[in-house]
């Protein structure tokens, strides 16, 4: 979709929403692990896309631009909610976060549930790297983390998911 053909009218932007909502919602759901939050994030992504539409120059496909924007919206939300919650969340058994849930992996639906059960950092990197195909340097840039952290989180995610597979 060339920049000049993008809708300038809010009602016409509905066509963009309908064409990309499923893709954006899937990303938000996998990154957040929470259907209600994914609803809110999906709305935020399209509102942000509308606001930033003039910055789309057609250097990539519109879908790729929107996908990247969606990742940024989710990761920005993740950072702000992490800052908001870090002072009030008390975990009695931190090791429990590392224990994979009892979710044997048989099909893709099982993997969806297992991804949702991963710790947030590991889930984010697994989704972006192994599902969406981003490189570690891209994930590090978007997430504001070191490349080494991205690799460590991927290792952790894969280990947890493999343990579920081996049950």
């Amino acid at each position: 979709m060339p920049p000049d053909s993008l809708p300038r009218d809010p009602d016409a932007f509905g066509d963009v929403y309908r064409a990309h909502a499923g893709r954006v919602y899937a990303l938000c759901l996998r990154l957040s692990g929470d259907p209600a939050r994914a609803d809110e994030l999906t709305q935020d992504v399209f509102v942000r896309a509308w606001e930033k539409l003039d910055t789309f120059r057609g250097e990539s496909q519109f879908g790729t631009w929107l996908h990247r924007l969606a990742v940024n919206v989710v990761l920005t939300d993740r950072r702000s909610s992490w800052r908001r919650d870090r002072h009030v969340t008390a975990v009695e058994d931190p090791a429990a976060l590392e224990r994979p849930r009892d979710l044997p992996l048989v099909d893709a639906m099982d993997l969806e549930r297992a991804i949702a059960a991963l710790p947030p950092g590991a889930r984010t990197v697994f989704v972006l790297h192994d599902v969406e195909g981003y490189r570690h340097d891209e994930i590090a840039e978007m997430g504001g983390i070191a490349v080494g952290t991205s690799k460590a989180q991927l290792f952790r995610a894969r280990r947890l998911l493999r343990e579920m597979l081996e049950r």
Binding site: R8, D9, P10, D11, F13, G14, Y17, R18, A21, G22, R23, Y25, A26, L29, R30, P35, A38, D39, T42, Q43, F46, V47, W50, E51, L53, D54, Q61, G63, T64, H67, L105, D107, A108, D110, L111, E112, H129, D130, V131, E132, G133, Y134, R135, H136, K151, L154, F155, R158, L161, R162, L165
Partner: protein, 160 residues
Amino acid sequence: MTTTDRMPAPDDEPLDPRLARLARELPRDIAPPADLWPAVRGRLAPRRRQWWREPWLQVAAALVAVAAITLAVTRHGGETPAPVAAAGATALDSVPGVEALAPETAAALRRNLAIIDSALAESRRVLAADPGNPDVETMLRLVERQRLELLRQVGRLPRS
């Protein structure tokens, strides 16, 4: 989208084949459980028109520049553009002594001013439809000022 077609980075250890298979089977799209569009639509502010995307303003700015070049060339005794059929009456006719200008110069200025006036009229129409748009107001004032300056300079041109 192209991101899903990428392979894992080469410096990673290979993904467990069973996990890789399941990851490939994940659906690319998941329909939101409810239609989120009404909520999204309610949050979309009307988009302001951006003056630099308006062709009529680009034309106006370009023609102000062309007319200024015409004046500069005339003042320094160079050749003016070939005469063309003059557009309708313009403010040029109200400039004292304009009838004494070289016919080629007067024709070029008259043609350019007519197009500038047309672009200004278009800008006023857009402003009427989008009152208070600061970009259009700014550009409108700028072109009006340049047009006035152009007419002032016409008054100082050497007469034939």
